[in-house]
Symmetry: C2
Subunit: 372 residues, 2 copies
Amino acid sequence: MNEALQYQLIKKCSTTKARLGKISTPHGEIETPIFMPVGTQATVKTMTSEELKEVGAQIILSNTYHLYLRPGHDLVEEAGGLHKFMNWDGPILTDSGGFQVFSLGDLRQISEEGVEFRSHLDGSKHFLSPERAIEIENALGADIIMAFDECPPYPCSHEYAKASLERTIRWAKRCQDAHHRSNQALFGIVQGGIYQDLREQSAREITALDFPGYAIGGLSVGEPKEIMHEVLDYTVPLLPENKPRYLMGVGAPQDLVEGVARGIDMFDCVLPSRVARNGTLFTSHGRVVIKNAQYARDFTPLDPECGCYTCRNYTKAYLRHLFKAEEILGLRLATIHNLHFLLDLMKKIRQAIQEDRFSQFSEEFLGKYGSR
Amino acid sequence: MNEALQYQLIKKCSTTKARLGKISTPHGEIETPIFMPVGTQATVKTMTSEELKEVGAQIILSNTYHLYLRPGHDLVEEAGGLHKFMNWDGPILTDSGGFQVFSLGDLRQISEEGVEFRSHLDGSKHFLSPERAIEIENALGADIIMAFDECPPYPCSHEYAKASLERTIRWAKRCQDAHHRSNQALFGIVQGGIYQDLREQSAREITALDFPGYAIGGLSVGEPKEIMHEVLDYTVPLLPENKPRYLMGVGAPQDLVEGVARGIDMFDCVLPSRVARNGTLFTSHGRVVIKNAQYARDFTPLDPECGCYTCRNYTKAYLRHLFKAEEILGLRLATIHNLHFLLDLMKKIRQAIQEDRFSQFSEEFLGKYGSR
């Protein structure tokens, strides 16, 4: 049993792989399946901690790469850790910075030792290795921290995907050795691209290292949805039942439903808050682009079925005005709505699993919202 | 007695012209002296209505020029008026649009009939007259509406200032004739630049029209502080004691204290929220520029004497990080702080007048904060 994290499997769906569970962390419990809002720079964009709680956030994610560069993990540690620095007393998960540095393209160079890269802020040179990533994550002090992995692009050859996953396994071992805080749970990551044999190899080797939780990485990077579903179909069953499973970087409403059906417990993505700031809003009948002229004199709430602060107090006409006038309140109200929508969706999913009607719920939701 | 507004003089300071009062409007009471946060485009930038109440806002101001152009006063009227449109159930004051169109410079042309101008948004041609301004303000539905006046620039010749104030008086009469809503109080505006004889003429002629309240316009437009104080010194005594007095466009902390001492009841200005968004913060010991390097590892609150949400929950180091990282939460926390600071200052001023120690309070405040 891990000191920093316990997973309790509460109930399994009788017709799908969906499961209800509970994760205990040093900063509180998380009901799963759950969506984690992303606070890249130690703030979930536009939101206060109180608002995050009001929309139903139980755990948030923050990015090691960004915090390392600014304000610096040493500063955050000096502030008393990330929870205290950003005034969020619930659970936090930090990624390892791997995904961000690999996304830098020409600005980074990979070796067995780690990755040399240039800052997107000022071009300064830096080096991230498994040991360095863990050192930074230890300093930030999140409840759940991720191993330093390589997330290969899509498409990617079998040869590259194999070499990459094997390095990721060696790096996972080095992360484990470097990790020294007993109040932080280190998760391993399954890679292997879209190749079944590689996903099998990766899952076998990573689970042999006995992490307290596992993520599935390298999906939602441009591949068709059918392929993502297929990879989940054969990968999730390779993970131990008594540990949480986290699908990284996935956050569209329909993808959450599809992921839960395949046995995923945790999700994160910037999508809901990013599209909110562009004026694209999730509703029970699909997406609404609030700047459209049809909403100019629409004095009804965005989603009459929604109980969020935005839908309780404002009309589509006012939201549209705020977006047309480029007012910050528009970004706030849209973010509140989209995060509430997703977190409420997860709550409904948990209730449906509890009452063993998840298949029916899933069908109804995808029918109304759309499956793409 | 005016149907839409009553002013009650509660107490006069024994050593200055400061006075404590209460204004009753269709949307509630306002304790004076008061500062009015500005919600230019039907939103006080970054703030929700609940946050405005939490920082102590009793009345807010919105701009006729901006709302007329976008989303349009007819749309706001169709929404049920400005209060309902923006979800603010307290008192609102709208200006007449005069100040904004005169600020357009080459984009506008003045005649006895009114002002032709081009929109700053799309260059389209528009015409504002006293009748049109009142028609728009009637549609917006604020509790207090302002007459359409000309605010001459500084410096300005005696000849121009005289011609302008005389037109403003004629326009005030036309506004009065055009105004037809009994639940909105129309205020007259004293102009006359920095010339004592013209301020006297303007005050005499505008008060003869018997408005339920009077504003002093044309100050804080570039003239030295001493001149502003001098104009207030001889203008305020010309206004009737039984009606509220509003100093337009003034909002620096020291100016509020100086204005109250000269008998002003109401103030408005974008300054506190605008400088907040630039990272300049009012504190009991003067201004703080939060981006300065000295705050990078300052883990204390912005102002230990302040009880606002920002100071209760966040450190200078975190605020600085948010501003360096250009995060919206930084703009929010800064706006909350500055508005709370000003509204709390007004509360302290009211308490000081109530306890007849305003002179002492004023001296102490200006000593700590600085008088410039």
